[in-house]
Amino acid sequence: MTPDDTVLLDHGAGGRASHAMFSKMILPLFHNDALARQDDGAVYPVPAGRMAFSTDSYVVDPIFFCGGNIGDLAVNGTVNDIAMCGADPLYISVGLIIEEGLPLKDLQTVLQTMADAAARAGVKIVTGDTKVVPRGKADKLFINTSGVGMLFEGVDVSGSRARPGDKIILSGTMADHGIAILTAREGLTFEGDLKTDSAPLNHMVKAVLSSGCEVHVLRDPTRGGVGTTLNEIAGQSGVGMTVFEKDLPVKKQVNGVCELLGFDPLYIANEGKLIAIVPEQHAVQVLDIIRADEFGRDAAIIGEVTDQSVGKVFLQTAIGGRRLVDMLTGEQLPRIC
């Protein structure tokens, strides 16, 4: 591979070029027994119990941004979706749809980031697929990841299990990912550190779920942000919610960009945060466990579940006012993940 080489239609044709790409670029990075067999699908052992299965596609534009790229986003995203089911993610698949002409070194960087992200999360990439489409038929690189994981024993988390009196914990600052993408895409330059928060949350979830604390809901507030996710849970569980503005963690510089551009951080995407809804008596302990994780240092109890105004989320504003936090309508920022 020379620095100027690009992906060609040949790389997706299933012939010699495809095989060379797999054996030279992909297998060495993702290496594991199931993948090395090069069969049509992966065969792997699983312990007895219940499984969680999830899939997600990534079309973020641009594919490189501050703090990450489409590769770790795709791995972390599926890892987190499985973790939010109350499961320990084990195996994932990777489907690449590549636009002809993508520099091979860009692909190499993305694949390396995926391998690193999988290692950090402790999951194996066991099967995959590569397609190349003519220039203009896709935008540089789209990735689909699917994954499976084993549920932790006795755990039952669901968006429908929030109960009046429960506390709402957010594992860190809001809106970091959406603002990082926006600034990268629009070429906006702001002072400070506007990095994506993309991170695997499965270790944090494992620590919480194996602590003996009861957890009713786990959800990662990705597209639509914390505001939309809380509305979904309130609707699913048939409860109301009150969130306290003064307790909502937002980085100062992210808040500054939001103020400037007229965005509400409550509706901006996160890729490395979770919402945990837990009974009041376990809230402080769960908060401490989350804060002990490297991706949970800024965690806070941001609100509580009520039996008032079922299906609605209210914000107690810093000045003592109260307003509705509705679900996001349409797109605030397109193609953020």
């Binding site: 103020e259 007229g262 000045i319 003592g320 006012g321 109260r322 349409g330």
Partner: protein, 361 residues
């Protein structure tokens, strides 16, 4: 040490003191209009309405540029997007506003080249990058944005970017206030005057309207403390019976505003009459390109075949913009008109009164 203007102006203790003073000093029902859409949003975002006494009714005025854009102008933007070889550039809010038939967003979905920009200068850049295309900017704004649009036209002229042009639906704030005050049935006890617009116009621009109608008026900023302070001033002016035109935003607004920005604006645009959605034609409230800049006028460059259209039946946007109705009194509100399916522009723009009522309750 610098003030961030985000902490100090959101101080809960200070807010409480202001609310208590408003409570104690407001002795009769007052109808206060915030003219600017950004104020409407700030009032809802910070939950200001429900910390105020019931005696105070806040009304949202004609100060969201998207909301007052006439349907004919929206139709023009859509018609432009249908022209072959044209790239239409616009601020995001306009994308979903329905014209008489469709929206720019739907046109985009159907294959038109419609691009969202954050600055009019991005539109000039796009024009430079695509010399074989015509790039039109949908100019919808008040005094805050008109000077930058004027500067972009000057830049395009200086740099010979001849494939750039604008469709001007720009509007001026003080003439709209004057028209509003001269309308029968209007009853407003105080105005919260726009902050950003006043940075350009200065306090002086409101002098004429104020001297004629003697309605208490306070220019203020967008933080909760700014807004509560303005409301307290309006309560006090009403109580004392001595109306004043007050600048409570001196950290940004000067008496004479920004003369340089106005000079650029008037170098490129002439004042003209303009149609305001829901309100109708208001004299001297619009901005048309001067004859020497007519080659940058999309309305002249393209043959758009526009006709005047009736506004959707039942839509109360006009009465809402004039403070005669609140969104909840509109028969379409939350029924056929929602942010997913907006009928009038007050529902589609994030700064529109109806969207604010809907989203923030």
């Amino acid at each position: 040490m610098g003030l961030t203007y985000m902490k100090e102006f959101r101080d809960p203790g200070l807010a409480e003191q202001l609310v208590t003073a408003i409570d104690q000093e407001c002795t009769r029902p007052l109808r206060i209009m915030e003219v600017c859409g950004t104020h409407t949003m700030a009032i809802f975002r910070h939950g200001i309405r429900n910390v105020l006494p019931d005696a105070i009714t806040l009304l949202s005025g004609p100060g969201c540029p998207v909301c007052v854009t006439a349907q004919t102008d929206i139709d023009a933007f859509v018609a432009l997007s249908r022209q072959p070889g044209v790239i239409v550039t616009t601020f995001g809010d306009l994308m979903k506003v329905p014209g008489s038939g469709t929206t720019l967003a739907r046109q985009k979905g159907a294959g038109a080249d419609v691009r969202m920009v954050y600055s009019v200068f991005d539109a000039v850049t796009i024009a430079r990058q695509h010399p074989q295309k015509q790039v039109v900017f949908c100019a919808v704004g008040f005094e805050t944005t008109i000077p930058t649009i004027a500067a972009a036209v000057l830049m395009a002229k200086d740099q010979g970017v001849d494939n750039f042009c604008i469709y001007s639906a720009n509007k001026l704030t003080p003439p709209a206030l004057a028209a509003l005050m001269s309308t029968d049935g209007i009853s407003i006890d105080g105005f919260i005057l726009p902050g950003h617009v006043s940075v350009i116009t200065g306090v002086d621009a409101y002098r004429g309207v104020f001297d004629t109608h003697r309605v208490p008026s306070v220019i203020t900023g967008f933080e909760p403390i700014d807004i509560l302070h303005a409301i307290l001033s309006l309560v006090r002016q009403n109580r004392s019976g001595v109306p004043a035109l007050e600048n409570a935003y001196p950290r940004a607004v000067r008496e004479s505003g920004n003369p340089k920005a106005r000079q650029v604006m008037h170098q490129v645009f002439d004042v003209c009459d303009a149609a305001w959605r829901g309100i109708g034609r208001i004299e001297n409230s619009g901005m048309a390109l001067k004859p020497e800049f007519s080659r940058f006028d999309a309305g002249l460059r393209f043959d758009l075949h526009l006709s005047d259209v009736d506004e959707p039946r039942g839509c109360a946007c006009g009465e809402i913009l004039m403070g005669l109705k609140t969104p909840k009194a509109c028969p379409l509100y939350k029924k056929s008109c929602t942010p997913m399916t907006p009928v009038g522009p007050c529902m589609v723009s994030s700064e529109g009164a109806c969207a604010a009522y809907y989203n923030y309750g």
